[in-house]
Subunit: 152 residues, 2 copies
DNA sequence: TTGACATATCCGGATATCCGGATATTATCG
DNA sequence: CGATAATATCCGGATATCCGGATATGTCAA
């Protein structure tokens, strides 16, 4: 059905469903939520809710490489969660829109009421080998497991 | 830096930062947001905000395989966004907590005020080959590009 | 101008996450 | 009981996303 090229297009628009129209908005909101789906970014955001901070301070907080933290902050900025203010060699980041705090607060409240279920939710991405993975490696990497990876 | 085994542990807890404590909560909230970071799940959630629907109806809405839709709905249920009600061979899903609508509404409002920047946000995951990828393949797959994948 | 500091961007490498197809499960109907 | 319908779960396969290290960019001080 149709060729659907999209040569240089950056945003494929997923596997084309029955209602292609009005879908564009959903993709945007999803991206918006995805930005907070990473523990590090969420931590940084909460850190920037209280006060203004430099990249270095953020690096010290999360303990990741400067390059990664810088990128995470750039992402939060692009998504409109925080604002960047350059002053000399430093760049100060902070949350300016009060609705951001509302969003985070609301999520905390909702998640709190479903802590147990959420904690157990492992679906959506079972992971390649999972069982007996015994990731006894040196603790390198690690990322975040995933939303409902089901296994047992 | 210690051995850090975590043999059979399912939730590694990412690369251990400077403040291991209180971090557990962040991971949970991040997972909570991640659930809405997928366009399909978000679409299903908005679909279930208005009324109760069966898996089949959801499949028809998004146009993906029944197995995938079923898993997506299970994920939303686990995360506490929707409730499932079994009646005979059918399973009816729906949003019960009014705060979910608030959360979605708030996100729409915030994202709307940053539509342009958000649309351009391609960071965090540059993608392997990107340049001149000219994904002229058969349009198979597609998923969602990503939050700020930077490329030019 | 040169050197040091604070950030930003680029580059492979390692996972997490998503997808469809096959199969298992549960329930209704004849 | 056997067949069919509606869901749920399992399995490889394909990407998106994250990470650290190297490098580029911009700023201030001597």
């Amino acid at each position: 059905m149709a060729t659907e090229h999209s040569t240089t297009i950056v945003q494929p628009g997923r596997g084309r469903a029955l209602l292609p129209a009005r879908d564009a908005g959903v993709e945007r909101i999803a991206k918006f939520f995805r930005a907070l789906g990473d523990p590090t970014r969420l931590r940084l955001l909460e850190f920037l809710l209280d006060a203004e901070h430099t990249v270095s301070e953020c690096v010290e907080l999360v303990g990741l490489s400067q390059s990664r933290v810088s990128t995470h902050l750039a992402c939060l900025t692009d998504c409109g969660y925080v604002a960047a203010r350059r002053e000399g060699r430093f760049t100060y980041y902070r949350v300016t829109d009060p609705r951001v705090a509302e969003l985070v607060f609301l999520a905390h409240a909702l998640a709190a009421d479903n802590a147990t279920a959420l904690e157990a939710c492992m679906r959506i991405a079972p992971s390649p080998e999972s069982v007996v993975t015994s990731a006894a490696s040196e603790g390198r990497r690690g990322r975040s497991p995933g939303v409902r990876g089901a296994r047992s």
